[in-house]
Symmetry: C2
Subunit: 161 residues, 2 copies
Amino acid sequence: MKVLGIVGYSGAGKTTLLCALLPLLCARGLRVAAIKATHHDVRWDQPGKDSWRLQEAGAEPVLLAGPKRWYLSRAAAPGDWAAQLATLQPVPDLVLSEGNTDWPVPRLLVHRAALGKPLRRFAGDQVLAVATDAAIETDLPCLDLNDPPSIARFLLTWYGE
Amino acid sequence: MKVLGIVGYSGAGKTTLLCALLPLLCARGLRVAAIKATHHDVRWDQPGKDSWRLQEAGAEPVLLAGPKRWYLSRAAAPGDWAAQLATLQPVPDLVLSEGNTDWPVPRLLVHRAALGKPLRRFAGDQVLAVATDAAIETDLPCLDLNDPPSIARFLLTWYGE
């Protein structure tokens, strides 16, 4: 299981890029999971629903198993990136992790010129490449943000290494 | 990890009993998970939301990680009770599984007289006891459906065996 972070400023288009890459990577036979970090206190269910009642009563975790999809709700383990990865069942080939800038994994940096911000800096040398829609000054490999197939090819090469 | 099925006709009060038992069992130090089977095609998320978009794009599974809770959405593995149990992270001490009548696990049968139905029958001898609100003819141990603490004590004894 390889893990790649998709990082960049809010509004750079990380989710949109992910949604363009996923079908291209899946078409190559990869089972690709997505992890999305959010600062919102997301709720899975509505107060009064059975699954919500079970959670409120102390069940940990709660699994709601429908005929097409299963939904697991569990308490967060703050900062524990390994625990997030361990939660992934079935185990994928590749994990695309959006917004977890502090994870010790290789990253694809998404940059959009219209945001008017400088290239986001990260400690270490863990940035594989920049996906950008403008010519920028950087020593990093640059990929065309508007050409997801070329980015998918880059990632497949990296995955196969 | 022990697994107990909570079975009975719809309307017998399975979820209500579960919600009464959970705090009692948790107070004894057990980490108790709940699995609820549903015939509804539940949706975790709304069309247009990022996590929904990632799922529609082919990510499998999708983990939405908020500051308090994490939510995992994955494709169902029809009929695969072992796969449902393997999904439970963190691994609990006890799993209370509601409505999965076909699982090869011990069961607590919930019976409510007002439904006007005969005692539900199950193949094999895997029913531990009946939680009922009426005097019924049965060879099975009977527990008072309206006295969750007594049912919790019964389950703790069974758990410790």
